[in-house]
């Protein structure tokens, strides 16, 4: 993984596999304090305390065809190798909450990368799931909520329609540029 955005995509894919109806992704930066925080919260099936204790071990996975699962360990590593921290909470039947904190100025912090592209991919490729994606830097905040967008579009126009996709792509990029201004 070369971008934090790809880690976000990977963790959000776990939420989708867990059958989440709503996935909330937040990227929040506090430039004065030199910290940023990435979080993914879902209402999927969650996991047992036993699984939770082992989940950052790369030799733990829900897959049955092999014994390696790298997604969470890579995300954890991205934070801990950059002066940050990693946290995960989960409850069976309730959902999972994963967040990582970073020192923005740390020399080993990966760039955020194409977060807009990841947000676009999540909302347009997963029609069965709702997303609430928040980007915040100091006082500037942008929210992309698929529930709001679906309400505007009505029932017969999907988010994956090329015209809607093209609109959302620009909408997301413009807002992200306004909020983060390429600083992450």
């Amino acid at each position: 993984m070369r971008e934090l955005a790809l880690n976000i995509l990977d963790i959000a894919e776990n939420s989708l596999s867990a059958g989440a109806k709503l996935v909330q992704v937040r990227v929040e930066a506090d430039f004065a304090a030199d910290t940023m925080r990435i979080s993914v919260r879902d209402d999927g099936r969650g996991m047992s305390a036993e699984m939770l204790a082992r989940v950052t071990d790369p030799f733990t996975t829900t897959r049955t065809t092999r014994k390696v699962g790298m997604g969470i360990p890579l995300f954890k590593y991205s934070a801990e190798s950059a002066g940050g921290s990693f946290h995960i909470e989960s409850e069976e039947g309730v959902g999972t909450y994963v967040y990582a904190e970073y020192r923005i100025g740390h020399v080993d912090r990966m760039p955020l990368g194409d977060f807009g592209g990841v947000a676009l991919q999540l909302v347009t490729m997963n029609p069965q799931t709702d997303f609430c994606i928040v980007a915040r830097a100091d006082e500037a905040e942008g929210v992309l909520d698929t529930r709001e967008i679906k309400e505007i579009l009505g029932e017969d126009i999907p988010l994956s329609a090329p015209e809607v996709r093209a609109f959302l792509k620009e909408y997301i990029q413009e807002n992200l540029m306004d909020i983060f201004g390429g600083r992450l």
Binding site: D10, Q121, M125, I149, L153, I157, E163, F167, N175
Partner: protein, 122 residues
């Protein structure tokens, strides 16, 4: 800056057009891109973007592009599966450039890009 008001206008415009996208019949081509940790780390996202962009540019209405989990051959990611004419074609070690070629040569013109197929490379 764009606002959601513009999305409302876009919706009204789309509603007034007759939609011929929904008439895709049994000649539909299905394309799947592996999007698990292995695929993402190997660069599946730019590949998916290239496929969507090329299909959109060529106004391909009978092509459905979606993502899937780990296909099981992590070292050959990014993997793109094309289901066409009752056959499955597995393209491996894809790049955005190769993905565009698959759309043009295989999906549009029916010539399989055999040099990218798994049987030729593994």
């Amino acid at each position: 800056m764009k606002s959601l008001e513009e999305l409302r206008a876009l919706r009204d415009k789309m509603k007034s057009q007759t939609d011929n996208r929904s008439v895709a019949g049994k000649d539909e081509t299905v394309i799947k891109v592996g999007m698990a940790t292995c695929g993402i780390a190997a660069g599946a996202r730019p590949v998916l973007d290239a496929l969507l962009d090329e299909a959109d540019k060529r106004q391909l209405h009978n092509v459905s592009i979606s993502q899937t989990g780990c296909i099981g051959l992590c070292r050959l990611e990014p993997i793109v599966e094309v289901f066409k004419d009752g056959q499955k074609y597995t393209y491996i070690l894809m790049t955005p450039e190769k993905a565009r070629k698959v759309i043009v040569d295989h999906v549009v013109n029916g010539n399989v890009c055999s040099e990218y197929l798994i049987g030729e490379n593994s």
